[in-house]
Symmetry: C2
Subunit: 347 residues, 2 copies
């Protein structure tokens, strides 16, 4: 079967120009929404473009303008559903503005990380970058990228000091609220599983937990704190540690849903009933929180909206459209979602 593919050659700007009786430059102006075009002319051009179904050639565009129509999402494997939610928000922002999203998985601990990013940027026509955690906290990388003139925004940076734009949720306050909720359910011994130490949010969540204990006058017991790594496996391990003790906690707050799922697994293994004798809470409200039994009490972050917002900002930066007075960071609201995995102790 060797039939020749038709591959209809796309319409070019020249055709639109002659069809509308103007120069290509004018068509270009119209397509780029530049101001200095008489309204009647603009209409004529738009009509011609529409009729011919003209789509500007992106390669020619970025070659000539030395501009990029790409946003690259740089990530190192945070939770899967977080990634997907984020992607979908980012895609939405890109779609609205005619940009495309590139994916750049990477190893945040690699010594060549900066080099890889620079390669990405130069190889892919200078896209803007979205740094997701924990990359958003690598201050040297941030510094260098900035120095190199790379446009980027950060997601959930622990340290908002750098002038680049970012989005985040107040992790500390969220963890504080969740902990207070547990305390208000009557829990006095609340275990805490810390998140990955290289994620800024981990520290903030821990501080929220501690703050709530303090404010409610509960003593802080260091032995109830264990170090997790945001993974299901680490959740199991930490759960085992906490639940093996004789004076085990009556509630466990895991710094994300996957670890909470791991704790639930161990609780089942040890035949500890949840929530009657153990409450378990997570963080993030990923789909995981519904798959577990019981469903997880957790904190919902509007990940998709955050992604959309921050990518929008990035594109504005790439276009130099950003008003100077615009605030560099945006905090999004979180929400405490109460499900079956938590309750008062002893029924």
């Amino acid at each position: 079967m060797l039939r020749k593919k038709p591959t209809t050659r796309p319409v070019t700007i020249d055709e639109v120009a002659s069809h509308a009786g103007v120069s290509i430059k004018t068509v270009s102006r119209v397509m780029n929404r530049e101001a200095a075009v008489r309204d009647s002319t603009r209409q004529r051009v738009l009509a011609a473009a529409k009729e011919l179904n003209y789509k500007p050639n992106p390669a020619a565009r970025s070659l000539a303008s030395n501009r990029s129509y790409f946003v690259a999402m740089v990530y190192d494997n945070p939770s899967a559903s977080y990634l997907l939610d984020f992607q979908s928000g980012a895609l939405e922002a890109c779609r609205e503005r005619g940009y495309s999203l590139l994916l750049q998985p990477c190893d945040y601990q690699s010594p060549q990380l900066l080099e890889e990013l620079v390669t990405l940027v130069t190889e892919r026509g200078n896209p803007g970058l979205v740094l997701t955690p924990p990359l958003s906290d690598l201050s040297d990388v941030v510094e260098q990228l900035d120095k190199l003139g790379v446009k980027f925004v950060r997601v959930a940076p622990v340290d908002p000091e750098h002038p680049s734009p970012y989005v985040a949720v107040d992790d500390r306050a969220a963890a504080y609220d969740l902990t207070r909720y547990l305390i208000d359910m009557g829990h006095k011994r609340i275990g805490f599983i810390k998140g990955h130490p290289h994620h800024g949010a981990s520290q903030a969540r821990f501080e929220g937990y501690r703050g709530a204990l303090r404010d409610r006058g509960l003593s802080f017991d260091k032995t109830l704190i264990v170090q997790g790594f945001f993974s299901f496996d680490s959740g199991e391990q930490c759960g085992r540690t906490l639940l093996a003790r004789k004076d085990r906690p009556t509630a466990i707050f895991a710094s994300n849903d996957e670890m909470a799922a791991g704790v639930l697994h161990i609780a089942h293994e040890l035949q500890i009933d949840v929530p009657s004798t153990l409450s378990v809470a997570g963080f993030d409200d990923t789909p995981v929180s519904r798959y577990t039994w019981p469903s997880l009490t957790t904190i919902r972050q509007p990940v998709e909206a955050m992604a959309k917002s921050v990518v929008g900002t990035l594109i504005a930066v790439m276009r130099d459209e950003r008003k100077k007075d615009q605030s560099k960071g945006t905090l999004f609201p979180y929400e405490l979602v109460i499900r079956g995995s938590t309750g008062p102790f002893g029924r």
Copy 2:
């Protein structure tokens, strides 16, 4: 803070050429691995390129060559983790060959789907397409894309009749094996939750189930079959239907993990012990299968490897490198993964 960004202008082919003492055409040849270059020349050029850290400008490249260095993954929300696994395999294939991956979420039922895809293709410089299920089964879309000369490959098409390349797993055989395993555990009444009717795999899995019953001489009870939609919620609903019956099944085979997770939820709600009085199995071996309690018996598909392979094929097609005698489809091996959610009836 108005400091000017340095934005070091990238190295161009001209600089490499003069640095190596050759014409730009020769540099171009070397960069594109064309044959007709003396070895000594090639070395000289490579050295120069390396020294200057030359990266060909992709926009210029695709403008001049009218070729695309993009692969677009077209999907309509199959399971989240499936997507991510697929992405990561696709990215790997792209990375190896210097291509970039674009994401194109879409609505497979939209009447304008074809139009949207054509827009994508023309707007984004004619990328190759990866059609994931259920898009891979829209024969009219496939037909039209082919007619338009769009290069594409399909993932898990139910109907391999079209000559475009594809990857798949033998869903029927996998479901057959899983069902036989359940039967061999002593189950005689095995409920089946069908997958989304618009996914080709659904039918194949169902046939595998039926085939195993038949071969093992078990009667086929239509009332044990319920229609799901691959979602957790539909799993719950179907689970409720099946488990509310007096003569409820002793095992339930859900056509994917999320639905199986839903069934487990209902089992817990009804205080039906798994696996002693009910076995539950899923399909896909997504991370979900580990989060549930008990962990799910399921079928593992090498999604990432499949993605990598099919994207590799796509790129070969885009480059016209594909040997004619190459088989158009590739079947990947699946694996039965036995976990805690299944066992012999009555302990």
